[in-house]
């Protein structure tokens, strides 16, 4: 299975360099949390991996099976998760095939099941919770047989329960070999759910296991404020708090 990766990519907006010579690989079954201060280029990096944006330098691989979930916009309120999940597939059908093929219907049903939306599949999104809408977006990406799922700020605007629900959903996808990369602001949640942390700050990227990357000095340099990092006494995962 191909690993989505970027090699030595750089991004500039006008004269401002966002990051240079960034490399990151997303192996199958991995969960990578991209963290870093505002404006460090997390969203740009996701768009580059998804080939929605061209880097100013460097290379991106592969072209197929990568979907970017942009869930900050609400879908039209009359759309159902089943319809939403078919929109990406529909782009891959010939124009005269307006209805989903039997194969597409199976893929949509499977994607809805994997995101736990089977029983809400035909309700308009206006009647769904914020977490369910988020999962419907993820289902739309999964239905296209994406093997690499990129998601920008999946927990924004969600309360704690839905944050955990979405991250649990993403985590469960990695068990079937899907590579997940999510831009996340909450360092503790990132450490709790991801196996790799990619810290993007000051124009450079450092990636590795949470314990290696989420290190107080590095975080202070990245965010410009003191961060204390503790291990949870019972569960062992990292807890990051501002000083």
């Amino acid at each position: 299975m191909a690993t989505a990766a970027v090699n030595g990519v750089s991004v500039r907006y006008g004269r401002r360099t966002i990051f240079t010579d960034v490399s990151l690989a997303l192996p199958p079954g991995s969960f990578t949390a991209i963290v870093g201060p505002n404006g460090s280029g997390k969203s740009s990096l996701l768009r580059i991996i998804a080939r929605v944006q061209r880097p100013d330098a460097g290379s991106v691989s592969p072209a197929e099976g990568v979907a970017l979930v942009v869930s900050t916009v609400n879908p039209p309120s009359d759309v159902t998760p089943r319809e939403l999940a078919d929109y990406g597939l529909a782009l891959r059908r010939p124009w005269w095939r307006l209805r989903p093929t039997p194969g597409d219907e199976t893929a949509v049903a499977a994607a809805l099941a994997r995101t736990g939306l089977d029983d809400r599949a035909d309700d308009p999104v206006a009647q769904l919770s914020a977490g369910e809408v988020q999962r419907a977006w993820i289902a739309a990406a999964l239905a296209t047989s994406a093997r690499t799922l990129l998601i920008d700020e999946p927990t924004t605007h969600l309360d704690l329960r839905y944050q955990v629900e979405i991250l649990d959903t993403l985590r469960s996808l990695t068990a079937s070999g899907v590579a997940v990369a999510a831009a996340i602001h909450d360092l503790t949640l990132a450490a709790r759910f991801a196996d790799t942390i990619a810290l993007l700050a000051g124009g450079a990227l450092v990636s590795g296991p949470p314990l290696e990357v989420l290190e107080p000095d590095a975080l202070r340099r990245a965010f410009g404020t003191g961060v204390s990092v503790h291990r949870h006494p019972d569960h062992g995962y990292l807890v990051c708090l501002p000083r």
């Binding site: 979930v69 942009v70 916009v73 879908p75 039209p76 124009w95």
Partner: protein, 331 residues
């Protein structure tokens, strides 16, 4: 709410019947009273000569067909552009087509061109202006369409200023011709205009049918659509150029007929929901019915004077526009 499939089919069929009834009524009634029996005879015998024959074959039938084409065209272009811009207040003229066509037609009339040529000149002017808008608005990437909207507004304002400048320097008789063209209407158009604008519309409609999936994806927003695999820049060009072609074909034959491209997609959306596959045919039929009825009224309310079609539709359209702006509207 998502409508069940059979309800949408019923709505579409009902609209087709309504358009057909409107067409029959528009053929049967007009400023000149002709017995319906005589019209029916003329309709069944195309090779006879009589007043009823002339009225049916040379005046009313082409006019009803043009009204249907213009209404369907503006309805379809409205759906396409509202989906592209994710803005329910966008109408086909945001592409700059009407402003360009108006300027070209004004210059054509000012230069003394015959009225047979003016629609063709307007068509070319409309497309040229849409191209300028598209070029100025290019490069928005997957981030949005704001630059495109601004370019449309700016170029349209420039064209309007130029039209005013030309109008001020015209002879009163030419000025009247320009004003009546700008007000919109189908009076005096015949088979020739129908033939060539119909050809462009057929191309535009066929093209629009191939964009259903892309338009549905664009309803989610350009970023989300790009994330699902849509080449947003390519789709934007296709939608914009086909909508401009359709609108230019309409404007060239009818002048600037406002509000149809804005009102009809909203009505259609309330009938069949937002799915583009249903919305395009529904909006086409709805637009055809609206313009057929409006044109019949425009020529029948105060004969022999014709109320400009654009004026009549604006009188209905403005309250509708205000109501739309006040209520939450879905795409």
């Amino acid at each position: 709410m998502t409508r069940p499939r059979h309800k949408r089919t019923v709505a579409l069929a009902a609209l087709a019947v309504a358009a057909a009834v409107a067409a029959c009524a528009a053929l049967a009634f007009g400023s000149v009273g002709v017995p319906i029996g005589a019209l029916a005879f003329a309709a069944a015998h195309p090779n006879t000569t009589s007043l009823a024959h002339t009225i049916f074959w040379d005046l009313r039938l082409p006019r009803v067909c043009i009204a249907a084409c213009v209404g369907a065209g503006l309805g379809v272009a409205g759906v396409m552009l509202q989906a592209l811009f994710r803005n329910p207040l966008v109408d086909p003229y945001v592409s700059g087509v009407s402003a360009g066509a108006a300027l070209a037609a004004t210059l054509g009339i000012a230069a003394g061109m015959s009225f047979a040529v003016v629609p063709a000149v307007a068509f070319v002017g409309g497309l040229a202006c849409a191209a300028v808008v598209a070029i100025l608005g290019a490069g928005s990437g997957a981030t949005g369409n704001l630059r495109l909207v601004l370019a449309g507004v700016a170029v349209s304002a420039l064209c309007s200023a130029a039209v005013t400048l030309v109008l001020l320097r015209l002879e009163p008789s030419s000025e009247l011709s320009v004003l009546s063209w700008l007000a919109g209407g189908i009076g005096g158009r015949g088979w020739l205009e129908l033939r060539w604008s119909g050809t462009y519309l057929a191309v535009g409609f066929a093209g629009a049918a191939t964009l259903v999936h892309q338009l549905n994806a664009l309803r989610l927003g350009t970023s989300a659509a790009a994330g699902l695999g849509l080449n947003v820049d390519g789709a934007r060009w296709r939608v914009l150029s086909l909508a401009a072609l359709i609108t230019a074909a309409c404007v060239a034959v009818s002048g600037v007929v406002g509000f149809v491209g804005l009102m009809v997609p909203h009505g259609a959306r309330r009938l069949v929901g937002g799915d583009i596959a249903w919305l395009l045919p529904t909006s086409a039929l709805g637009g055809a019915a609206v313009v057929i009825v409006a044109d019949a009224l425009a020529r029948s309310i105060a004969p022999p004077t014709e109320i400009p079609l654009g004026v009549l539709l604006a009188i209905v359209g403005v309250p509708f526009f205000l109501a739309v702006a006040r209520r939450p509207v879905e795409l």
